[in-house]
């Protein structure tokens, strides 16, 4: 129901530029798999083949994909937190206004496809099936090239929630990830919009953009107008990173453990966006980051409610900063 408003109507914004399965199913040579976002393109081709080139149907498929991702977020979070918190995290992930762009714009199904395989990689890694996790991480890159960060996020997740990897497993993962990671980076380097690596001032501007993007993503639950497209970040200057960081650091310092983890997660997930700056920063870039942001918010709600309702208020509230 929350996404019902976007289901009607025609193609919107970058949907006009996209090629809806015209290459045919399985028709693309594997050598171009990364650059053509192969798995995502297969999803477009299948949608067109079975449901026709109808924007409403394409959006419905994207919505179904988002629902599957919500369920996977619940499964992933179950290992880290209680069932009720993970259900709330999945709800936040599914319903937070910043997700509208990824779901409503068919062209941004790239994020949905990439996130599905990324979440499957996390589930496989949680179960100790590292080969399956590696294959899913590779599929993440074929959903969208920026999914290459999955190779860093999977071990980070396992370091937080387990299982702990042996030294040999860690080394094996690093070696196995080298080829797909280099292929992804090579693609990003050859793609005209990206330049690796930017100057320090450019990276400062990118970092500012990421901080603003996260900030407006969080605030959007109170006022979704902040999301109304304003991708042009050329007004930012390198020095803007200082006040923005000054504003954000207290959230890190005094936040809950999951809030700190969300900060680290965003830094890793958006690292390529920072070192290879783009003149535009879109809301859908945060789709994967929102997995842990949702978890952090759900955890905060749980701890905050416990803190308020206890008889030992405010002493009980020390748990909010992890001091308990």
């Amino acid at each position: 129901m929350a996404y019902a408003g976007s289901l009607g109507g025609g193609w919107v914004y970058e949907d006009h530029r996209a090629d809806w399965g015209m290459d045919g199913i399985w028709a693309m040579p594997l050598s171009w798999a990364i650059s053509r976002r192969w798995l995502t393109n297969q999803s477009y081709a299948l949608t067109t083949a079975f449901l026709g080139p109808d924007p409403s149907m394409a959006r419905l498929v994207s919505l179904a994909w988002h629902l599957v991702n919500g369920w996977l977020v619940w499964l992933v979070a179950r290992r880290a937190v209680t069932a009720s918190i993970s259900a709330l995290a999945a709800g936040i992930f599914l319903l937070w206004p910043i997700q509208v762009e990824s779901v409503a714009a068919v062209a941004y199904r790239t994020e949905l496809v990439s996130a599905t395989f990324f979440l499957l990689a996390l589930i496989a890694a949680e179960r100790g099936q590292l080969v399956v996790a590696w294959l899913c991480a590779c599929a993440t890159v074929l959903g969208k090239e920026m999914g290459v960060v999955a190779f860093a996020l999977v071990p980070l997740w396992c370091a937080w929630v387990g299982p702990n990897w042996t030294r040999r497993q860690g080394q094996g993962w690093a070696v196995a990830c080298l080829v797909p990671a280099l292929a992804g980076l090579w693609w990003a380097h050859s793609y005209s919009s990206f330049r690796i690596v930017a100057s320090p001032s450019e990276m400062a501007i990118s970092l500012s953009s990421v901080l603003l993007l996260v900030g407006r993503g969080l605030w959007s639950v109170f006022d979704p107008r902040v999301l109304s497209i304003a991708y042009d970040t050329r007004w930012l200057v390198p020095s803007s990173v200082i006040p923005l960081l000054g504003f954000c650091l207290p959230f890190y310092g005094f936040g809950t453990p999951w809030m700190r983890r969300a900060c680290v997660w965003i830094a890793v997930a958006m690292s390529l966006r920072i070192v290879a700056p783009s003149p535009e920063f879109h809301d859908h870039y945060l789709y994967t980051s929102w997995i842990v942001v949702s978890l952090a918010l759900a955890h905060l709600v749980n701890e905050g409610a416990a803190c308020i309702s206890t008889k030992n208020f405010p002493a009980r509230c020390t748990s909010l900063t992890g001091a308990r």
Partner: protein, 110 residues
């Protein structure tokens, strides 16, 4: 208390998502929302101008291109907005003779 806060948060989230999703039903709705939220940003105005020009709504499109040209921070977008105004002048209505548009029109030789 937890359930109450959780339900309230999800309800708020869903309602704002619904509001935002409505803006994604068409190009015009999307860019109008962008212009409404950021009246001094060139990009939403330029994109709204392009959408309206595609529909042959020349006067409205020209107004948006003018806003984009006036607020563009970079030369590229200013030039694109100027090309948009010249396009309207060529295939739509003669606007580049009007004093408010003429400084921004970009004449592109065929």
């Amino acid at each position: 208390m937890r359930v109450l806060i959780g339900v309230l948060l999800l309800s708020l989230s869903a309602s704002q998502t619904y509001t935002r999703a409505l803006e994604w039903r068409s190009d015009e709705a999307l860019w109008r929302a962008g212009v409404r939220a950021n009246p001094t940003l060139a990009l939403p105005a330029y994109n709204l101008g392009s959408t309206l020009a595609h529909e042959g709504r020349w006067t409205e499109a020209a107004d948006q291109f003018l806003v984009a040209a006036q607020h563009a921070k970079g030369g590229d977008l200013r030039r694109l907005a100027g090309i948009g105004l010249s396009y309207i002048d060529t295939v739509g209505e003669p606007i580049c003779e009007q004093p408010r548009f003429s400084p921004w029109c970009v004449w592109v030789s065929p």
